[in-house]
């Protein structure tokens, strides 16, 4: 359904997306996971024909994004990260406008619009102005809008960014429902591990414009081969040095006041860690053992945590991106 080869995008001297290669199967939910600024949205914008690739190709639904942008646009639906509905119009008017722009036959519009409104449970509010909607309702309407023209592929850019937990769960259930019932191919970007884990069949982890891992979430986690032991201590560096004496401990990551150790058979290692610490006079505040999450996968490959940037940085990013669309 989607075939990406060496896809690259440069902004001046900055390479935002660096030689991406991946394919997405029909009906699959594919996730692009990575921190803000990793190049997820840029990748998505190239697939949606908003930005031109500097290099490389992308085929969406059989059409090249550079050579046949309008066929690509007809095949896809997009739910943008930032609001993109007209708030002076009603929900229904927004959907009608979209249906017209995408050439949905008049005779079918009414039926389809009611259908998508029902899907996102906005039937009662369809005839109110968007400016009276809450953030979650707007996002739901945008999802509905992305579906009115029955796209083959739906792109979702950070679908739950800035929403409260309850609304987030809500949106997740719509997405899961859609992929099951409509067999629609979906590509979503996110920096929420939980979201990627829950919704995606496969995930590409992106950092600095490159794919650093690509697999099913389960296999990505299994790929770490072991349990995660977190150790909170004041002497991170010292303990890390000492722990290297234990032969089976290879993968040790230092965080601010915490050590993360990935190891097979963690239960039997814990006593030895404690032993080493006690012998070297290091005080351990707490310790825990658990199964790996995608966060650990990311940490494993990059040595960093995925952390949402501060809101200032985030808004600067949004402003920059907005300016790039003219």
């Amino acid at each position: 359904m989607i075939d990406v080869k060496d896809l690259t995008r440069r902004f001046g001297s900055l390479t935002a997306v660096d030689r991406l290669n991946f394919t997405v199967q029909p009906g699959e939910v594919f996730g692009l996971l990575g921190p803000n600024g990793a190049g997820k949205t840029t990748t998505l914008f190239m697939l949606c024909t908003i930005l031109k690739p500097s290099f490389g190709t992308a085929i969406v639904n059989g059409f090249d994004v550079v050579k046949h942008p309008s066929q690509v646009r007809r095949s896809i639906g997009i739910v943008f990260q930032e609001p993109s509905v007209d708030d002076r119009l009603t929900g229904r008017e927004n959907l009608e406008m979209h249906a017209n722009l995408y050439g949905v036959p008049r005779s079918e519009q009414k039926k389809r619009i009611n259908e998508v409104l029902e899907l996102v449970e906005l039937e009662d509010r369809a005839d109110s102005l968007i400016r009276t909607y809450s953030g979650g309702m707007r996002r739901r309407l945008e999802m509905a809008r992305g579906l009115v023209h029955y796209p083959k592929v739906l792109f979702l850019d950070e679908p739950t960014l800035g929403l409260d937990p309850q609304t987030r769960e809500h949106i997740w259930s719509y997405i899961a429902d859609l992929s099951k019932r409509k067999n629609i191919t979906m590509i979503l970007t996110t920096h929420y591990m939980e979201e990627a884990d829950k919704l995606c069949d496969r995930i590409a982890i992106i950092d600095y414009g490159k794919i650093i891992a690509l697999d099913e979430p389960k296999r990505l986690k299994e790929g770490l081969e072991g349990d995660i032991i977190s150790i909170k201590t004041g002497a991170v560096k010292k303990l890390s040095e000492k722990l290297k004496e234990i032969k089976s401990l290879k993968d040790i990551t230092q965080l601010e006041s915490e050590l993360k150790v990935i190891v097979k058979g963690g239960d039997s290692i814990i006593p030895r860690i404690v032993e080493v610490a006690v012998n070297s006079g290091i005080h351990i505040q707490s310790m825990s053992i658990r199964e790996p999450t995608l966060e650990d996968v990311f940490l494993h490959y990059t040595g960093r945590k995925i952390r949402p940037e501060t809101s200032e940085e985030y808004h600067a990013l949004i402003a920059r991106r907005r300016r790039s669309i003219k």
Binding site: C48, T49, I50, L51, K52, S70, Q71, R73, R74, I78, F80, E82, P83, S84, V85, D86, D87, R88, L89, E93, M97, H98, N100, L101, Y102, G103, R145, R322, R323, S324, I325, K326
Partner: protein
């Protein structure tokens, strides 16, 4: 076909939005009245212009001014669309950039012409005889005047980062075009240099044509009507061309 439907859809959106802006509609009712009644009466008794009085003289000029200011404002409002993200929705739709531009341009022009028509209704205030025929003739003329102006607004907007720069447009585009157009004084009685600058102001032809249509025989035109129309037509075509090129840029 889908392009035409797209243009219609964008046109409809602009008009719907405009009709819902109650505060702007109200202010658009009163602003021309201030020019006609206060400014017009004040000047009327200090200047004399042939057979018609000053208020009647500036009446078509105030129509022109309304068209200019509204067109420019509506054109620039595309910045709002970008700011609120709506522009993205349109830009990824499967219609051409040319259609997007034309749809917006037609919609904004319609809004400006509606606003201009309100002003025409004030003809009784200044004692101009406004019959149905004159009113109907003014409509296509007003359309012709606004196409180019809206295109200028849309083009400028695509180079602007935010609506704050609107003041710059007001100072460097709106006011010069307005004052140079002969809306408030006859440009055949001004110094040579000023007359030459007026000739390159597209609104000069718009106001002249409006005077020919509205004031009829009471007005001695600067140019024959078909000259005015030709000048406006060339201006429109040039600005629409520039606008579509600027809008069509894809990065």
């Amino acid at each position: 076909m889908s392009e035409i439907l797209g243009i219609y859809t964008l046109w409809l959106r602009e008009v719907k939005r405009y009709m819902r802006e109650k505060t702007r509609l109200v202010s658009s009712f009163f602003q021309p009245l201030i020019w006609l009644v206060i400014f017009g009466s004040g000047m009327r008794f200090s200047t004399g212009i042939g057979v018609i009085n000053y208020q009647q003289f500036i009446f078509p000029g105030v129509v022109g001014q309304t068209l200019l200011f509204t067109s420019m404002f509506m054109g620039i409002s595309v910045i709002w669309d970008r700011e609120f993200g709506f522009l993205k929705e349109i830009l990824v739709a499967p219609i051409s950039r040319v259609s997007i531009f034309v749809g917006k341009m037609l919609g904004d022009s319609t809004d400006a012409v509606i606003q201009g028509s309100f002003v025409l209704l004030y003809s009784f205030v200044v004692g101009i005889d406004m019959d149905i025929k004159t009113f109907l003739l003014s409509l296509p003329l007003m359309m012709l005047i606004t196409f180019g102006l809206v295109s200028v607004g849309l083009t400028l907007a695509s180079f602007m980062e935010s609506l704050e720069s609107f003041g710059v447009i007001q100072t460097f585009v709106n006011l010069p075009l307005f004052f140079l157009s002969g809306a408030l004084f006859p440009v055949d009685q001004v110094p040579e240099w000023l007359r030459w600058v007026s000739i390159i102001d597209p609104l000069t032809y718009g106001v002249d044509a409006l005077r020919i249509v509205i004031l009829k025989g009471a007005w001695t035109p600067l140019f024959p009507l078909h000259y005015d129309l030709l000048a406006l037509f060339i201006f429109d075509m040039a600005m629409i061309l520039v606008g579509t090129i600027v809008f069509g840029r894809r990065r």
